[in-house]
């Protein structure tokens, strides 16, 4: 690639000018419609739209003037800023992802926003180098040429071209609409509607008040109907948002000149393409949130170094069947997700029931502050908490399958499949009570994903043995004596002058 300093695409200027003109329209319209007798409630919003639009467009023009970028054989560099000069550079072998996205205005002008990220946490922040915007052709070229860092994984079969793992399914809509976020969405939509109605002289509040005789229905029914109506409004909003975001969703293994990437393309107005370097993938995580377990809702994320949370979500929320199919395709191994996991000792169930009792006691204690017999609600909640404890216990499991560590646990029944060679250390935890129950919690630390994945409450000896098998050699010299006798090949290390 060229090593000269380049400007962003000149079409950015046209986009900015168009933005400026568009933001002035409401102002012109109100002046034309109302003339001198302008109403404050119409004038001020129009004026603020105009001011925000013009200031934004001018700032963007200045940014375009002062921004230069270049791609050399070693680095991606970007200089920008009018008053505060910033000079960002990323070494090409540290690049972990190259994302392109385009809002509607970019797509109309044939532009793409490219974000190049390095993996080092904190060092670069989460921002990376952002080129806003270059031509679609330049973006495609960057995406093809940039993720060059490493040689591709040697042991992957690397099919040429493109393998489609998943495309958008209509059923997913159902899983993305029925969440508590629907209520938040409804609050936003209703408030916006009320405000907009007000500015054109429509009083939504009194309209709703006149819909039914709320007083006759009583408080309970009013609340029920209100929540259901709000939920419906929110669900419609979430549904529209889901389609706008995931239109034309495709997840593929794409093999380019620089190895294989796991590529997502999606979006109706704003299209987004995310490439995840296969060489940086370390595993996968499937979570089934408790409130939606009964419909099999599953969140699927990959465990990779240098990816933001949104980039690590490979498929939208969906049914467990789809999630398992995609996960198997990403891992290139469907065995991993079907292995029977080793259950954890019964003592782990006792520990969880203990927590359930503690939570019940706490809840009851708080409820005694209320008048009447509200505290009975706390007592009645005990079976629910015990049921949660049993669920959490049944979720516990672990296995070692070939090159992968598989652990599952938590109320969200989170299944983690992690490559053994991605484990960069261990943390074991044991409270005094756990020690009495013979339990030990083990966490594999890793550079990828959230940084550590926990398997709670294994039998103490099993936890240590598991860790020793995942990373051979690291723990061997710290295994208790009696284990050394049993296991051939695990002789005490010469020169480890430890007291016995």
């Amino acid at each position: 690639m060229t090593s000269e300093w380049m400007r962003l695409d000149a079409k950015v200027i046209w986009v900015d000018l168009a933005k400026m003109v568009l933001s002035l329209i409401p102002m012109a319209l109100t002046t034309w419609l109302f003339g001198d007798g302008i109403d404050g409630s119409v004038f001020w919003p129009a004026l603020s739209v105009a001011v925000i639009g013009v200031v934004g467009a001018v700032t963007d023009l200045l940014r375009w003037l002062k921004t230069r970028y270049r791609i050399t054989d070693e680095r991606v560099e970007c200089r920008t800023g009018l008053f505060v000069r910033s000079n960002k550079s990323i070494r090409r072998d540290r690049i972990r992802s190259v994302d392109t996205s385009a809002r509607l205005r970019h797509r109309l002008a044939g532009l793409r926003v490219v974000v190049v990220r390095a993996g080092e946490r904190g060092a670069m922040g989460d921002t990376g180098v952002k080129l806003d915007a270059v031509s679609a052709a330049a973006a495609a070229r960057l995406q093809a040429e940039l993720p060059t860092g490493r040689v591709a994984v040697p042991d992957s079969p690397a099919p040429s071209g493109e393998t489609v793992l998943a495309t958008l399914r209509w059923q997913w809509l159902f899983y993305n609409v029925f969440t508590v976020w629907a209520l938040a969405m409804a609050a936003g939509l209703l408030w916006g509607g009320y405000w907009l109605g007000n500015s054109v002289g429509l009083d939504l509040a009194s309209f709703v008040a006149n819909l039914a005789d709320w007083g006759a229905l009583g408080l309970a029914w009013t609340i029920t109907i209100g929540v259901l109506a709000a939920w419906t409004v929110g669900a419609v909003g979430l549904g529209a948002n889901f389609f706008a975001e995931n239109w034309n969703f495709r997840l593929t293994w794409t093999t380019g000149p620089n190895g294989t990437v796991l590529r997502t393309t999606k979006g109706l107005f704003r299209i987004r393409q995310v490439d995840r370097d296969e060489a940086r993938l370390r595993g996968i995580r499937l979570a089934q949130p408790l409130p939606w377990r009964w419909i099999g809702l599953t969140d699927t994320t990959v465990i990779s170094t240098g990816l933001s949370w949104s980039a690590s979500t490979v498929v939208p929320r969906g049914p467990i069947g789809d999630a398992l199919r995609v996960a198997a395709a990403v891992l290139r191994d469907d065995r991993l997700l079907n292995v029977p996991l080793t259950a954890h000792p019964r003592a782990a169930l006792r520990r969880r029931i203990g927590w359930a009792v503690l939570v019940t006691l706490g809840l009851t204690a708080v409820l005694t502050l209320l008048p009447d017999r509200w505290w009975l609600v706390g007592v009645a909640a005990l079976p629910v908490f015990v049921w949660f404890a049993a669920l959490a216990y049944r979720a516990l499991g672990h296995a070692l399958v070939g090159a992968h560590l598989v652990i599952r646990g938590g109320l969200n029944r989170t299944l983690v499949v992690l490559r053994r060679d991605a484990v960069i250390g261990w943390t074991f935890r044991q409270s005094v009570l756990q020690r009495r129950l013979g339990l030990l919690t083990v966490r594999a630390t890793t550079a990828a994903g959230s940084g550590g994945y926990t398997a709670p409450d294994l039998a103490a000896a099993d936890a240590v043995a598991l860790a020793d098998r995942v990373v051979p050699g690291l723990l061997t010299r710290y295994l208790p004596d009696q284990r050394r006798g049993e296991m051939p090949g695990l002789q005490p290390t010469v020169g480890s002058n430890r007291p016995h």
Binding site: T427, R429, R435, T445
Partner: protein
């Protein structure tokens, strides 16, 4: 110390660390109790008295129990292969990281540690889940350990992820 699931690391921490943990508890309790006391003297809210007593009692109990308990538990070891520490009191925690995965090595000395001639060596890996910290070391020993570790780390190729 009772038998754990793993053999404990080889070295105990300095005895002075007991003093460090004790002083830390004293300082925290003094600040918390002091704020409550001043608030009580200014506003004269009577319910602050039991809160103050509970805070003070908790501080004293913590002071009596934890420094010695920690001293019994805390151990560390650095070999050519790994950094290995055992910490905690009610909850014991063993952390081990292979030398080949170490990214940075720092020494930290707070004001109390300086007064007691102690230091902490913080060994970070590429994981976001916190470093392996060797606490309660003699400050000169800490400097040497940090220097040796840094030298070994420099010699290891790759980006340690």
């Amino acid at each position: 110390m009772t038998e754990g699931p793993l053999l404990p690391p080889q070295h105990r921490v300095e005895r002075r660390a007991i003093g460090w943990w004790a002083l830390r508890t004293v300082a925290t309790t003094a600040v918390a109790a002091g704020v409550l006391l001043v608030a009580y003297l200014i506003f004269e809210w009577s319910w602050l008295v039991p809160v103050l007593i509970v805070v003070a009692a908790f501080g004293v109990a913590h002071l009596v129990v934890t420094p010695w308990w920690r001293y019994a538990v805390h151990r560390w070891e650095v070999t050519e292969d790994a950094v290995y520490v055992c910490t905690g009191w009610f909850v014991r925690e063993w952390r081990i990281a292979p030398i080949s995965r170490v990214q940075t090595v720092d020494t930290v000395r707070g004001p109390i540690q300086q007064a007691l001639g102690l230091a902490t060596v913080t060994v970070t890996t590429a994981s976001a889940h916190g470093p392996v910290a060797l606490v309660g070391l003699d400050h000169q020993a800490a400097t040497e350990i940090a220097r040796d570790l840094a030298a070994v780390t420099q010699a290891t190729p790759g980006d340690a992820t």
